[in-house]
């Protein structure tokens, strides 16, 4: 039992250590763009996550394992999805929610059925919609309107060729650490070496989002610009890299991972198109988490139905 616990702790340390390493870059960028406000929000989230995890462990008579980095990772993810100058109690409640309602009742960061960071953020988004999606520019040269808001309200919006660099570097209004696409591409490359299979969900998700943006663009510009804006707005790429690849919620088989990602992408883009929230990616992730076992069963049944027919067709073709 003790050996099992030790190996589980080591595994948790490895996985969340990787995430922590990847999260350093968005944190640095958020501090670069938003300065002291970003530091304050990050600090509030980290301290709340630690305190809740520590006292939660005491309440349930469980030994606190300092190397369990799951709550730290979740806290940083929550902070990065928030606006930099948000009131301190909102990220605080979000972190407390992710620990007390998701992590501790389900037995720790490696056993949760829902992504804790997504749950914490979604809970707060439902409670404080105006505050969560009220972005202010961190630097004087930043554009004043977030891409998500522009896509949601402005049908006549076009992408200006001059500001494409601002868009992909995250130099636009939005969540404090989820704007820079270049960082997330680097994280994907990192995951390619460390957890290649998890990227199937990311690939499915981004693929579904791209297809959706191509078929049903929300801007009046070209379809390519629609794709770039959809991928750059809000926390979509951040969710693709950090939330969808969460170890405990990811399905086991490769096929299910891909289906999970595609399902999440479709839900996310549908909610963006039809929903009331500017950034519904966390709700989409939670819905995908909830439907994950059902998707697994459904995919198996579909494959069981299709495979014999395909084989039969092949035999017929081979016979001439």
């Amino acid at each position: 039992m003790a050996t099992e616990n030790r190996s589980a702790n080591k595994k948790s340390l490895n996985i969340f250590g990787d995430y922590l390493l990847m999260l350093i870059f968005p944190c640095v960028l958020s501090i670069w763009y938003y300065g002291a406000a970003a530091v304050r929000t990050l600090a509030v989230c980290i301290v709340t996550g630690f305190v809740c995890d520590f006292f939660g462990s005491i309440i349930i008579y469980k030994k606190y394992y300092a190397a369990d980095l799951s709550s730290l990772c979740s806290s940083i993810m929550i902070a990065l999805m928030m606006p930099a100058d948000i009131s301190f109690y909102i990220p605080m409640i979000a972190c407390a929610f992710s620990v007390f309602v998701i992590k501790i009742p389900f037995g720790g960061g490696m056993k949760v059925p829902f992504v804790p960071a997504a749950a914490g953020f979604a809970f707060m988004a439902a409670c404080f919609k105006e505050e969560i999606f009220a972005y202010t520019p961190g630097r004087p040269f930043m554009t004043g309107v977030s891409l998500g808001s522009a896509l949601m309200h402005g049908g006549s919006m076009r992408m200006n060729g001059a500001n494409i660099l601002d868009i992909i570097t995250g130099n636009i209004c939005g969540p404090m650490g989820t704007g820079c696409i270049i960082v997330f591409v680097a994280c994907i490359v990192f995951l390619l070496f460390r957890r290649r299979e998890a990227l199937l969900a990311t690939a499915g998700f981004i693929g579904a989002c791209i297809l959706f943006a191509l078929l049903l663009p929300r801007s009046n510009g070209s379809r390519i610009s629609s794709v770039i804006m959809e991928l750059s707005s809000g926390s979509l790429m951040f969710a693709a890299v950090f939330l969808l690849t969460d170890y405990s919620t990811l399905p086991a088989s490769k096929r299910d991972k891909l289906v999970y990602g595609v399902f999440c992408g479709i839900i996310c883009m549908s909610m963006r198109k039809l929903g009331v929230f500017e950034e519904p990616v966390c709700f989409a992730v939670l819905l995908a988490n909830a439907f994950s076992p059902l998707l697994d069963i459904l995919t198996r049944r579909v494959m069981a139905f299709i495979t014999p027919r395909i084989n039969k067709g092949r035999e017929v073709v081979a016979d001439g």
């Binding site: 309440i59 109690y89 309602v101 009742p105 809970f123 439902a126 409670c127």
Partner: protein, 262 residues
């Protein structure tokens, strides 16, 4: 089960229908967003439960089960509909649209069906009434607690009076908020019960009477029999025990076969 059951506050908490049996969740989750609504729900559930359980114990013992279930529904409607009609037409109490939908659904709540089927139809009227009272009290308590907390956190008011709160969380007024709250309530009560048990065990250990001193009667005591652990310790591992058991069974079979042949 206890034949002469009495109303017990303890049972209403430790065997709470909503928190531990997970019955009647629908009406509690849907109807307890404010204190006023939760009081209304609590009274209606209590009335339905007490009357239906008493009637079930008195008259339904020899009726087939599938008919009984329908009868609980009919009785529930017979209790709830006149009350709702009376409140709406003869009093000034304002019933919200949501409550008008939820209250008739109390007639089909699972608390009544479960308690009537599992207890009332098998026991005397007194016991059934005591069981119904316990269940009704437990359900009402949870409804009122949920209503109060949800109204305070979700709307910043309690019983209609505005509290000076810096922020409110509207999610708590939604069904999701009630589910989370019920989970926490169940966890807190479970923790309190286990704490209580632990403290009882500790106190019983400390208060245990001292063992009398052994009196030497001059009789030689026989050697203590070997325990199972000692027997197992003679073997190297569990495989050897299994193989020897297997051999023993085989030899038994061989003897029986031989006996049959003879």
């Amino acid at each position: 089960m206890d034949e002469n059951k009495r109303f017990s506050f303890r049972e209403a908490i430790t065997e709470n229908p909503v928190l531990f049996q997970c019955v009647g969740l629908c009406s509690i989750i849907a109807g307890t967003s404010t204190l006023k609504d939760s009081l209304f729900i609590a009274v209606m559930i209590a009335a339905d439960l007490i009357i239906t359980c008493t009637l079930a114990s008195l008259f339904f013992k020899k009726i087939p089960r599938y008919v009984r279930i329908a009868l609980y529904l009919v009785i529930g409607l017979a209790i709830i509909y006149p009350v709702l009609w009376y409140i709406e037409t003869r009093t000034l109490i304002e019933v919200s649209l949501g409550m008008r939908i939820i209250i008739p659904l109390i007639a089909v709540n699972s608390v009544t069906a479960v308690h009537c089927e599992t207890y009332s139809v098998k026991h005397s009227v007194g016991s059934a009434l005591a069981d119904a009272l316990s269940a009704a009290f437990g359900t009402a308590l949870v409804a009122v607690i949920c209503g109060t907390i949800r109204e305070i956190i979700g709307k910043g008011t309690v019983g209609g009076y505005t509290l000076d709160m810096k922020f409110t969380m509207s999610t708590m007024s939604m069904p999701f908020g009630c589910l989370v709250l019920l989970g926490f309530l169940a966890a807190i009560i479970k923790a309190l019960i286990s704490l209580n048990r632990r403290s009882r065990n500790v106190s019983s250990e400390t208060e245990a009477p001292e063992q009398p001193e052994e009196i030497d009667l001059g009789i030689e005591q026989s050697e203590a029999p070997e325990t199972v652990d000692m027997i197992i310790a003679d073997y190297d591992d569990i495989d050897s025990i299994l193989s020897s058991t297997d051999e023993f069974l085989r030899s038994l079979n061989g003897y029986e076969d031989g006996g049959d042949e003879q």
